[in-house]
Symmetry: C2
Subunit: 329 residues, 2 copies
């Protein structure tokens, strides 16, 4: 216990001094599923929490091929040139299958990964989306405590994980290709509606006219949706991450977003809501895990599910039978 | 116990004979929150379950003023003229505040409510959305067992309850006004995407040209979304419920939907998925209720939440502290 505590104290001190090795080790600690590690992680989080929160948290999504890495590299290098410190995290629940499909390979961001003012961490490589999201949230707090003032949370453009990211960031940025309406069809339902800003990437060379058209179409599509904030209308920008064009304009929009929504207290309120709903999400998930872990439930569950799918038992009746087993166990 | 059982047997027999009073009393039973009633309700549901399922389940939504009652009256009367038996249920979690804001007043559907082949039941008047939805699901099973072969589940067009309805029906129908793009802005996010069919009501008199334009706009907006079924592209129709115009065409679309998606086994699969997820939803909700009901949790919860909102405790840490209290209690 003493040993654990002194280790935690030195990790917390390292983080406060922006020591990258301490930060990396702290993230490894919070990613661990070992019970004693989890207790250490809780102690560490309590220590660093007062130093967290001083960043703008930006979610970045887009289908594979849209140029997310190139964009983050170009955007990150620009931010560093402006004196910012940039942490790049990721949520990819599929990485347990693919062995880390996004950010697993740091060479994707060769320049950025060599910067002292940048910190890149791949997605936790295993667990449910809920578990992966929790560890990314906690890594975000650690990065903030280590003085990173822009947090980019990358995700693959395939649905569930976008929602998880939007629930932990201040602003959600959707990267799209210059292919316009056709691409919109391919985008998972609801993702467009999460976007505070759409960025049409690859607006260079031959693709410039297409990018202009696409930006117009995306703008029209956004116009059909009800904005989620009274103080912000989602907007569209074009860029060429490959040629570092349009990057400053994107940062200008983000600064405007932060200024407006900080003044109206929306970001602060959103963060409080996110924290409370995160707490309840943890509670729900843990209760369900405790339920499913009971041997009595495990042995009854298959039969109940099959009674329900075959229409022999009403779902609510099956639920009540299982819950009775659980509370008597 | 014997008494309870003979009561249940006679209710089940009444339902099998399509006796409306038995059906109404059975629904009152499943709406009760008394524990012994709940056990009777479970017994009844198990008895009638083999007779349920032989209907097309249609969700109907739209903002107040779109003419839902007029539509259901006109549509219901048409269905009855075609030899169908129509049950109209409702989900309105707000009815506990307003004393039954939808379907509370049967005079809204004066003709339909007088038909022997129609059964109209207002929304359960109290409880959480989850509770209201559960009772409507169970009422649906009872109506089916009583021989109603078209079930209409009405809801108000304001968000959450639409999702709950879409999770209990085969097909979701969204009523819209002839006002086009402007109205789309007012529709809660995600509702459009639930729609298997959009019906522009009030396509009569002066509003005919506007209804045509609106139908075009809605069609275009649907085209931007990815259809949720490989075998069905959401479609737009116009009608004037007031003048009974366009009603048959709507039923034709519903029949086409049912034929196609039954042949591809989608409706059957959807119902199985809905049942299983309903069972899990019940389990989740009951676990959370048990958690919140513990006195130890109640006395600690406020403090934990405030520690989290004030940034003194990480959400996951607070959750773990509460869960420890719960399992030690």
């Amino acid at each position: 216990m003493i040993k654990g505590n002194s280790k935690i104290v030195s990790l917390a001190e390292g983080i406060a001094k922006s020591d990258r090795r301490s930060l990396a080790r702290a993230i490894t600690l919070i990613e661990s599923t070992r019970l004693d590690h989890r207790e250490d992680a809780d102690t560490l989080l309590e220590k660093i929490l007062p130093q967290s929160g001083n960043s703008i948290r930006i979610g970045i999504s887009g289908v594979p091929g849209v140029g997310k890495s190139t964009f983050i590299e170009s955007f990150g290098m620009y931010l560093i040139s402006q004196g910012h410190r940039v942490a790049v995290l990721a949520i990819d629940p599929s990485s347990q299958r693919t062995g880390g499909s996004i950010l697993g390979d740091k060479t994707r961001m060769e320049l950025l990964s060599r910067q002292e003012a940048a910190f890149i961490r791949p997605s936790p490589a295993s667990g449910t989306l809920g578990g992966v999201a929790r560890r990314t949230r906690e890594a975000m707090l650690l990065c903030e405590a280590a003085g990173f003032d822009v947090i980019l949370v990358e995700t693959v453009g395939v649905g569930q994980s976008e929602t998880a990211v939007s629930e932990m960031v201040d602003m959600f940025l959707l990267l799209l290709l210059p292919s316009g309406g056709d691409e919109l069809q391919g985008i998972k339902k609801g993702i467009m509606e999460l976007a505070d800003m759409i960025v049409v990437n690859k607006a260079d060379g031959d693709l410039k006219p297409a990018a202009n058209r696409a930006a117009g179409e995306y703008h029209a599509a956004l116009g059909l949706m009800r904005p989620s904030s009274p103080n912000w209308k989602p907007t569209v920008r074009k860029c060429s991450a490959l040629h570092d064009e349009g990057i400053q304009e994107i940062w200008d929009v983000i600064k405007e977003f932060r200024t407006k929504l900080w003044a109206s207290h929306e970001i602060q309120d959103k963060r409080v809501r996110q924290s409370v709903s995160w707490m309840w999400g943890e509670i729900r998930e843990s209760l369900l895990v405790a339920f499913c872990d009971k041997p009595e439930i495990q042995s009854a569950l298959n039969e109940m599910e099959s009674e329900v799918t075959q229409g022999r038992l009403a779902p609510a009746t099956a639920a009540r039978k299982l819950l009775k087993l659980f509370s008597n166990a």
